[in-house]
Every structure is written in structure tokens, then in C-alpha cells.
């Protein structure tokens, strides 16, 4: 009983100590550790907010086995930049009620943040944002990718997204005839 009690107390002490920290440590699938502002993580990620509230954050690095180090670095970078920028009311409302609030254009720094990423990094960040329930980051990254599709032909879009064309020539021709107005510029 005493051992258990002692263990319980230690656990309690560790949790209290952790609750006092301003940052949380996240561990990528390849074992790298990243520090992120606890406030920003809780505000921007529903999954991390749930883990922080539920006390399931590991002081030695919370395992995020689905996220590679490059994507996690970008996630953390985004959270920290967000913590340092003055969040506008628009951003807060967008991240809270994503599915009902109308889309808010990315702010200048968010635009720059996604513009510097390679295609691969951007796609990985979409996955990470979705996985962590980071609605605003998902918004910004998906917006960037949808902008990348502008002015591209179906072939070019397939190349960007690494998608195999599973239509037959006849099927494509049928669509082109049915919706000819969309192909006048071709």
C-alpha cells in the first residue's frame, strides 16, 4: 500500500511539475524532440488540448508516431510563430468553429510560412494538421494547395498529387463533351 501511495504521489508531483511548465515536448516518429508553447498547442490543436487537459502529456516527449520530424518541426514552428503573433479575432473564431465559420484568408505570415515549403513538406503538414486536429493550420495548408491547382490541366494536377489516371479515353471524352464549356480554353 505504501509503495503504491508513494508511486501515486510521485506521479502527482510529476503532473504538477508538468502543469507548471510553459511548454510541452513532442516526439516525432523518428525520435526527435521538439518543444512547443503549451498555450499555443492547446489553442491550435484539439488533440493536444485534449491530451494536456487529460494529463497524458509525457514530460520526456509525447510520442507522435504518425508524424515525421520534418512535419513536426513545421507544426511546432507554426505553433510558436502563432504564439508570437498577435492573433486576430478572425483567426481565433476560425480555429474554434472551423466547420461553420466562413474561411478567413491566411494572414501575411501564414502565407509566407506555407510558401517556403516544398510540395512534399506541405502535403506532410496537411496530414499532420489533420492528425492533430489543427483546423487553422489545415485551413492554411489546404488553401495553399488549392491555389496551386489554379490554371493547371488535369494532367498537371495528377502530377502534383501523384495520382494515376484511372479513366479510359472514352470516359474522359464523354465528360469533355458533357461539360464542354469548362474546356473551351484547352
Amino acid at each position: 500500500m505504501e509503495v503504491d501511495k508513494g508511486k501515486g504521489e510521485a506521479e502527482e508531483t510529476r503532473k504538477v511539475a508538468e502543469a507548471d511548465r510553459d511548454t510541452v515536448t513532442l516526439k516525432s516518429s523518428d525520435g526527435k524532440l521538439f518543444e512547443v508553447s503549451k498555450e499555443a498547442a492547446a489553442r491550435l490543436s484539439t488533440v493536444l488540448a485534449g491530451m494536456i487537459a487529460g494529463g497524458s502529456i509525457d514530460d520526456n516527449g509525447t510520442d507522435l508516431k504518425q508524424i515525421g520530424s520534418e512535419a513536426l518541426e513545421n507544426v511546432v514552428d507554426y505553433c510558436n510563430k502563432h504564439a508570437n503573433s498577435i492573433p486576430s479575432a478572425a483567426l481565433i473564431s476560425s480555429s474554434i468553429s472551423f466547420n461553420t465559420a466562413p474561411f478567413k484568408e491566411p494572414e501575411e505570415w501564414e502565407r509566407k510560412f506555407v510558401d517556403r515549403l516544398s510540395h512534399d513538406a506541405l502535403f506532410d503538414l496537411v496530414e499532420a494538421a489533420n492528425f492533430l486536429g489543427m483546423e487553422r493550420l489545415l485551413d492554411v495548408t489546404c488553401h495553399k494547395i488549392s491555389e496551386m491547382m489554379k490554371g493547371k490541366s488535369p494532367d498537371q494536377i495528377r502530377e502534383v498529387f501523384n495520382i494515376k489516371n484511372d479513366y479510359t479515353k472514352e470516359e474522359l471524352e464523354e465528360i469533355r463533351q458533357e461539360l464542354a464549356w469548362a474546356f473551351y480554353d484547352d
Binding site: 502535403f123 489546404c142 488535369p154 502530377e159
Partner: protein
């Protein structure tokens, strides 16, 4: 690991470490998130995206996607403008076949529908409306509809018309019952004080008498409101309900758009106020306008 329970990752995590891999395949959830953000200002891009793969086409043609797309972008884009003679002037790439309606007169468009008067046959017009002077088409839901996706649902058509004796008539058609209502009549020479417009009403400009007709199909009642200007103003006249429920009135004169609003004065009596004129030549690059726009 709680994370694994909360979110199911469908992609191999090992692929993250390979610098030579091909571009990643995004999971369906995320494709959805990207496609929903395609700009409605470029409808052709949505079609192009649907020819990328069958799975993309399934996503784009799914009714859940359609409602989410509308919800996401809220204010629908202007895809084109119907001229009064039934010709659609596209403002985007969207121009489906057979969209022009020759020998038709556009009476109204709203809630994703267009009301056209077929000048070749007047069979749909109820007998007692000898001469249709105006009409409106609207969603049948009185309340609780944001009109983003109701264009396939039940609708109503309201028509007003005059007879040679100076009587005005109005009636409403319901697509649910497929019947016209009994007509509501009014002698246009009756001296009826202007009523403040509120709640359910339709307002029309009557082409013959240059008066605004207020028709409430629910009561039903028909009444007349004088226009803010006495002279005939039949160019670009629009009678509309403003966001706050008041009545708005616009017309074009000498290349200016004249705007009026009806507001209650101190005594609670409705008055035309807030006159504003916008010089269109300064606002619109007339020289750059589509020739189709200039022909009317």
C-alpha cells in the same frame, strides 16, 4: 496511445524518411479539405478536378460535398447576369449549353431560380391575369432556409397583372400543390396610404402605373406604394427588400444609379429617404464592358 485511437492514419509512416519518394498520396479526408477550397470564381477548375481521377469525381459529385462547399464559401459567386431578353452574359467560365432563353422575358431571379415569361405562349398564366406586368420566384420555405441549396426544392411564383379596367390582380403558384391561389385584386385608383413594408411581402414595380405594388400572399393583400420620384423611371428599376427588412428602390437616370430607402420617420410614418446617386461612368469601365452588355 490515445492518439491512435482518436485519429486513424492511413499512410505508411516509414515513407517520411525516404528523400526520393514520389509526391505523397493524400488521404481522402484531406483531398476533401483541399477540393472544398477550390475557388467558386473558377467553375471550370472544379470540372477539371473531376477529370483527375474517379475518386476525385466521386468526391466532387457527392451531395455532402456540394452542401459543404456551399457552406464553406457562403456567398455564392455571380456566374453570369441574365439580360431582360433571356440572354445570359457569363462573368466566369460557366456557360452550359442551352442556357440562353430566346423569345423570353426575364421577370425575376432569386434563390437559384430564374422566372422567365415565354412570349410565345401564355398558357401557364392563370386566366384572370389578363396582362402579366411583373412576377417573382422564390423558395417556398418561409423561414429557416439560407437559400444556398434550395433551388431543387419547392418554390412559389407570384404574378401581378392588370386588366383593361384598371384593376390589379395578384396570385401565387405553389409547386407543392401545383395550383394557383385565388387572385387578390385592387383598384389602382383607390387612394391607399403607403404601408410600411415588413415581414412577408413581395414588391414589384408596375410597368403601367409606375407604382410599387406590395403583395403579401399570406394575408393575402395587395396595396400600392408611390415611388419616391414622380417622373416615369423605367430604366433599371429594381424594387427590393433591404437587409433590415425595409424597402429599397433603385433606378438609372442619366448614367447614374439612384438609390432610395423607405424608413419610418419620427411619427412612425414611412417616408422615402437616404437618397443617393452613384455615377456609373466613374465606377464602371464602360469601354471595357462586354459588347453584349452594351447592346441593351
Amino acid at each position: 496511445m490515445p492518439l491512435e485511437e482518436e485519429r486513424h492514419c492511413r499512410r505508411s509512416c516509414g515513407s517520411n524518411n525516404n528523400p526520393y519518394r514520389s509526391p505523397p498520396e493524400l488521404v481522402d479526408d484531406n483531398i476533401d479539405e483541399i477540393l472544398v477550397r477550390l475557388s467558386p470564381e473558377d467553375p471550370a477548375l472544379l470540372v477539371h478536378a473531376s477529370t483527375v481521377s474517379k475518386s476525385w469525381r466521386n468526391t466532387l459529385t457527392n451531395c455532402t460535398f456540394a452542401s459543404r462547399y456551399r457552406e464553406f464559401h457562403r456567398t455564392p459567386p455571380v456566374l453570369g447576369i441574365f439580360r431582360r431578353d433571356g440572354i445570359l452574359i457569363p462573368t466566369t467560365s460557366f456557360l452550359p449549353p442551352a442556357v440562353h432563353h430566346f423569345n423570353c422575358h426575364v421577370l425575376d431571379y432569386r434563390h437559384g431560380r430564374v422566372l422567365l415569361e415565354n412570349l410565345d405562349c401564355g398558357e401557364i398564366v392563370p386566366d384572370h391575369l389578363a396582362l402579366v406586368t411583373n412576377g417573382a420566384v422564390l423558395c417556398a420555405m418561409d423561414t429557416g432556409c439560407d437559400h444556398l441549396n434550395c433551388h431543387d426544392g419547392p418554390f412559389r411564383v407570384a404574378l401581378v397583372g392588370a386588366d383593361p379596367e384598371g384593376q390589379l390582380h395578384a396570385c401565387v403558384y405553389s409547386s407543392e400543390t401545383d395550383e394557383w391561389s385565388p387572385h387578390t385584386s385592387l383598384d389602382v385608383n383607390d387612394d391607399i396610404p403607403p404601408e410600411f413594408l415588413a415581414n412577408a411581402y413581395l414588391a414589384f414595380i408596375d410597368e403601367f402605373y409606375n407604382k410599387i405594388l406590395r403583395y403579401d400572399p399570406m394575408e393575402p393583400s395587395l396595396s400600392v406604394i408611390e415611388t419616391p420620384v414622380k417622373e416615369t423611371c423605367d430604366d433599371g428599376v429594381i424594387v427590393m427588400r433591404e437587409e433590415d427588412g425595409g424597402l429599397g428602390f433603385t433606378f438609372i437616370k442619366a448614367n447614374s444609379l439612384h438609390l432610395w430607402s423607405m424608413r419610418k420617420d419620427r411619427n412612425g410614418k414611412p417616408q422615402w429617404t437616404n437618397f443617393r446617386a452613384i455615377e456609373l461612368e466613374k465606377l464602371l469601365p464602360v469601354g471595357k464592358m462586354s459588347p453584349q452588355m452594351r447592346t441593351e
